[in-house]
Subunit: 346 residues, 2 copies
């Protein structure tokens, strides 16, 4: 029986080039799929994430439909915070909203007093869901990618109390009260770590750390206030890790976290050959199909994907993906066509 | 009587270093000021922009309060589109919303059939407002900066029909229908040009082109689909121009528009000495105080502003400003304190 450790994805993360690059899509499970929208009727987002058979089924939908080379566990970056007992909901059309924003040193003390092990203790629904997915995929050896938010992106939501454009409050805390910042980010790193471990113990063959908002930081702030915590979230993982951000052209080297990340996500702004030139041969690249081009006629998109794959050859290995998540309004048949196209490449 | 052409700001744009750098703030006129919020009660945003005495008074408020080295004309990037007869409103808390998004080649044909000269013909309220401001400031020689949105940022709103995160539809049009894109962006360049000319004819001593969303583009797309139109919007201006974007670390050289921009805006992500190293001695830098630090205790903010000014010495000249607009929730007394601090520098 094929084993996930021998999959194109895991081998690519170990730096091996197969006959073709593996392909999957961030947010492949979710709103772009009619079967997902149908299944979610009547269930709130975070409840869906914590209902094992529902989360497993949602995770599997895009694997069945698109025949991608990996499942990515359907979850939300705030799930470990909810498992830690923090009051949070996803407001449709807005994003995660916290009942009590974490803005002062006292707020930070209140939150970080929670033992991160509580996350592991409460993670049974996560473990169960990943186990269901891994067992369902065992016949094909398709790997499951575990999922967690990085400390900065989590803190950006937590400090702001919800989504924000330039994450002013979290970035202000770094400078206004560095001790409180490091305490919060350090705690979040432990929480993300427990959440990833729950998934790898249940059968995830790789993990991805999402630092979606890292691009809002200067390199100096990233190095001083963020990188050590993201590194801690991934250190000691038993499977290879992908580290993802958007608008991080100025942070690419830092995002390898000193070699802890086996793969680094590249958005559509930086051509992969440029990224490979910067990052060298120690890391695998993932991305960088422009989500905007999902709306373009197929010949335009095909030429773009071909160009992405060709430039990706400059890296030690390349995992085809979008530069950011699948937009909710994307036409899923276009995603399937990209997978078919990549699978025909030699 | 002092003349605006001899002001620290205009001289800095010509590459001259005065005894200290000039200082002003993007969005200094607006929601951070209680006197603005009071004045705006009962008047819609775009109506306020087109009521000469109101727009003039709003433009002058921060000059009186903060004693900044320049007024920036209070307007909105969609004003020239309204002057062209396009139906648009500002929805509070959301941004500009267009009644008819411009998505197809037919939509583009409909919009670009409007003669850009209509903008000039309808710009009397803009000219009157700028004249009032310039006359009020004549005694001190404080310059007025004219204001316009760049073609890409305008197109991002127009194609999407409102604000969007990664401007997928506008970026898709570039590749899906390049002819329609260039027609639209070329028309927007002419519109921005007319709008800037109305302001310079009425007494603006410099202009700033806001391409707030340019950072969402790869350098290749920026060069092929955007730069020629932004350049066209500024070419032949009778006063020096500042070109502004956010998240543009990967586009800095392109944003000089081949020398057409006398100044380039730098956000908080790129240290000014790094930017000066990339851009050389042909351009003045503006920015890059981190808006997040407006929330930090004064000693932290003071050290940051001092560092910004010191790094700015690597450029031929530097205009102190934030890396993006004043956040609506900013404490205006902090902005005043920055001005006082910069004015004491030698």
């Amino acid at each position: 029986m094929p084993h996930p450790a021998d999959s194109l994805l895991v081998r690519a993360l170990h730096g091996e080039r197969g006959t073709r690059p593996p392909v999957w899509f961030m947010r492949q499970a979710g709103r772009s799929l009619p079967e997902y929208r149908e299944l979610r009727v009547g269930t709130r987002m975070l409840d869906a994430c914590l209902t094992p058979d529902l989360a497993a089924e949602i995770t599997l939908q895009p694997v069945r439909r698109h025949r991608v080379d990996a499942a990515v566990f359907f979850s939300d970056i705030v799930i470990p915070l909810r498992l830690a007992g923090i009051a949070v909901e996803i407001e449709p059309g807005r994003g995660p909203v916290f009942e009590n924003p974490v803005r002062t040193a006292a707020d930070v003390a209140r939150v970080t007093a929670i033992d991160p092990d509580v996350v592991a203790a409460n993670a049974a629904p996560v473990r169960d869901a990943v186990r269901l997915v891994a067992s369902e995929l065992a016949a094909t050896g398709t790997p499951v990618i575990g999922f967690a938010g990085a400390p900065f992106t989590l803190a950006a939501y937590l400090v702001e109390g919800g989504p924000s454009k330039e994450h002013l409050r979290a970035r202000a805390m770094m400078h206004a009260d560095p001790a409180a910042w490091h305490r919060l980010a350090g705690w979040l790193a432990e929480v993300s770590r427990r959440f990833l471990t729950a998934q790898t113990e249940a059968g995830a063959s790789a993990v991805q750390l999402f630092d979606s908002w890292a691009g809002s930081l200067s390199a100096a702030d990233y190095r001083a206030f963020v990188a050590p915590h993201s590194r801690r979230a991934l250190e000691g993982a038993t499977v290879p890790a992908i580290h993802f951000g958007v608008g991080t052209a100025h942070l690419l080297t830092d995002m390898t976290l000193g070699g802890v990340a086996a793969g680094v996500g590249i958005d559509w702004r930086t051509p992969l050959d440029t990224a490979a030139g910067i990052l060298g041969s120690g890391v695998t690249l993932q991305g960088n199909v422009d989500p905007a081009l999902l709306q373009a006629p197929w010949p335009v998109l095909e030429a773009h994907v071909r160009d992405v794959v060709e430039r990706g050859r400059a890296a030690r290995a390349h995992i085809v993906n979008l530069g950011h998540g699948v937009p909710p309004e994307a036409d899923p048949t276009v995603l399937t066509r990209i997978v078919e196209f990549v699978k025909e490449l030699r």
